[in-house]
Amino acid sequence: MASTWELIKQGAEAKVYRGKFYGAPTILKERFQKKYRVPSLDKKLSSRRTSQEARSMSRCLKLGVRAPAVYHVDLEKRHIYMEDVTSGLILKEYLNCLDPVSHSDSLENVMKTVGGVIAMIHDGDLIHGDLTTSNMIYNEAESNLALIDFGLSFVSSLAEDKGVDLYVLERALLSTHPDTERLFKILLDSYRAASKNGDSVIAKLDEVRMRGRKRLMVG
């Protein structure tokens, strides 16, 4: 009768399971122990990381942006039990299903939504840290977006950190989808319109892009 947990992902930092927690559809994320670290140090660092991840989910919800609710955190085991967000598609899959020509309205809509959502968390000084299309769940019917995987998130008010957050997403989009330059521009316009200081963040994004390009040329 004990509940069963299905392993759905073995990532670099954590194992992710899907199951039930007192009846609720739940995702269980278990951060690994790092074998090469001194155990006492590892314990401290991974407790902090696990705490930060859970706290960011709460912060995100409080900013009015969908994220998995937290059900239970076990710092000793580095476990986070969280809501299984089932009301949509992973954005990556959603984008893969769209034809750029016949679905251009849908594509523009989702880019606007993503831009608006990122502006909301950034206005609350929440940096996601790993904005990729795998870490967003999109519900087309309600055009709302949930963010997941706050494993690299942190709090910062610096335009630089927000710019880098956007840069990560731009790179992720460019590598997975055609026609992204135009789409990312729609996203940025929506970000700028919704955000408190969009201009300075986007100026930073430009700087980060330049640095990235130089690095590419050198490397």
Binding site: M1, A2, M57, L61, L63, E76, Y81
Partner: protein, 193 residues
Amino acid sequence: MSPFYLSHTYKGLGLLKMKLETKSDHFCTLFLCTGLTSAAELRRTVLSGKLPCCLLDAGMICSSFQVMVAVNKAVISLERKKLVTKSLQTEIIYSLSPSTNISESLRLFGAKDDSNSVVAVFTSDSSDSFLEQEESLKSLVKGLGGEVLQDNDFSKTLDLKSLKKVYQITDKELQVTTLEKAVTTAMSMKHLV
């Protein structure tokens, strides 16, 4: 109602081959009791040890899930010998609270003498005794002019305003999540580092 099985978290992770910290299985059942003229008598019976349960102020409870999450936490603390209160019963009350202040937590979430509605929570390492305990709870509650509800519909007894205040839940977050989920999220923030 059927008892919840404390599907004890760790048991479900058998595939990880983790050593189980549970020394035994745990079961839990809960009842919403309403229409009491006073909860004083009920509290006395519990304090005397005749009714092995914990009594919550029903106004602060929005769902069974909220209670189960608290019981889960309390049982884990018991197993790890890390109870911060004197018993599993009070630990359940404390686990509901977003505050680390014990007396404040017990005051906010425990049933009070003048409570008209309470939630009675029974935990045990077997569910054998539940039927008997349910009967004694029912007769006690009946004697006090109240009834034990069959459906655990907490919306009838919930004090929404106080609940939102204690857990610091905003209308903004309720646009993107449910009350129950906002509550467990707030409960989970308590012991983070």
